[in-house]
Every structure is written in C-alpha cells, then in structure tokens.
Amino acid sequence: MKDRKTLLVIVRQSPYGSSLARASLDTALAAAALEQPVSLLFMGDGVLQLLPDQHSEAIGVKNIGRLLGSLPLYDIESVYIDAGAAARYQLDTQDLVLTVKPVDPAAMRRLINDCDNVIGF
C-alpha cells in the first residue's frame, strides 16, 4: 500500500547506560506493530547493543540483546550497522544477535534521505 510511510530508527545508545536503548526499541516495535515498514540503524555506541552473550540478569534489568534477537519476528525490514563503530569496538558483524548490513557514512546518509520519517535516539 502506498500510504505506508517508511520509518528509520537510529539507535546510538549503549544498552544499559540509560533507558534510551529500550525506548528506541519500543518505538521500532510499535511502528512495526502498526504495519509501518521499519528499518533500524545502529550507530556509534548503539552498536554495543548487538553484542552476543549479554547477561543482564547480573545487573537486574531486561536483556537488550535477547530482545533485539526477537526482531525478525516483528517484521522489522532491515537492520544496518555503522561499520566504523563496529570496527572500533572489534565487533565481527557476522557474529551479532541479529543479521545486520554494515554501512559507511555515505550509505547512512542515503538511508536517512530515502526513508519517509526518521527518528534519532
């Protein structure tokens, strides 16, 4: 349907440093539940949310990694990762909680230009 506007959610927050990681995820899931085509871009410190083996029960909060791992169930269209930030943190983009497409700054700009709406966290 033509009236479905595409949404890009940009996630730049570490998973447990603040409540913003949860907020960005809730936004993406809410939009997807309303059948809006949603893409996610993990940028900067946001890439840290994608680390496997998170054991957040150690600090008594919900496991962001596990939550993200369930995204394919919710019709999230595409998930992108800031390749520079992933490299900075020595993350192997093949070994994360989600299948992600690595992007450089030019590709990030294109993603932002190509969607109807963008929200940054």
């Binding site: 447990y16 440093g17 083996d53 998170q54 054991h55």
Partner: protein, 96 residues
C-alpha cells in the same frame, strides 16, 4: 595514588580527560558503560594500558554487556574487590 572509576564509553570526553591524568601508581575501575574500554585490541584499551595504571573491571557490568570473552589483560573484580580498592587508594575520582 588515585582510584579512578570510569563510567563512560571510550568516545566520550570523560574518557579522554581521565586518561590525560592517569599515572602508573593509579588504579582504574571500569564500570557501567566504562566496561567497553576493556575490549581487547581496541584503541581505547591500548591507550588505557599505555598509562601503566592497574586496570580493573566490575564483573557484573562486564557480564551484562557480554564482554567476558572479549576482555584484554585486566583484573575482573566483584563488589567486594571494589570495596578493597577504595581501602587501598586514599582518593577516589568518578568519571561519568
């Protein structure tokens, strides 16, 4: 002899400010978002090592972040270890 408690990711100002004054007789404890500075082979960890300070990381925060298999040479401590660090170092300075 200062115990520095570092709570921000390496991209933040606080990280650079802390590293600028770290000396070899100091200790650093990585906790909260600071744990990501403990990832081996990153520029952040190498800079931290180069200060010569003794580097510690809080176990529960490293566990939560998923870092236990990714840490460079670093002392993993629990809350009790944190307390004994505060006993050994007369000053504690938080970076967040």
């Amino acid at each position: 002899m200062i115990l520095h408690t570092l709570c921000t990711t390496p991209g933040r100002d606080a990280f650079d400010n802390c590293l600028a004054i770290l000396s070899p007789d100091d200790a650093v404890l990585l906790l909260g978002d600071g744990v990501y500075a403990g990832i081996k082979k990153t520029e952040a960890f190498e800079r931290l090592q180069a200060t010569g300070a003794s580097i510690h990381i809080l176990r529960e925060d490293a566990l939560a972040a998923g870092l236990m298999e990714r840490l460079g040479p670093i002392l993993v401590i629990d809350m009790e270890g944190f307390v004994s660090l505060t006993e050994r170092y007369p000053r504690q300075l938080g970076w967040y």
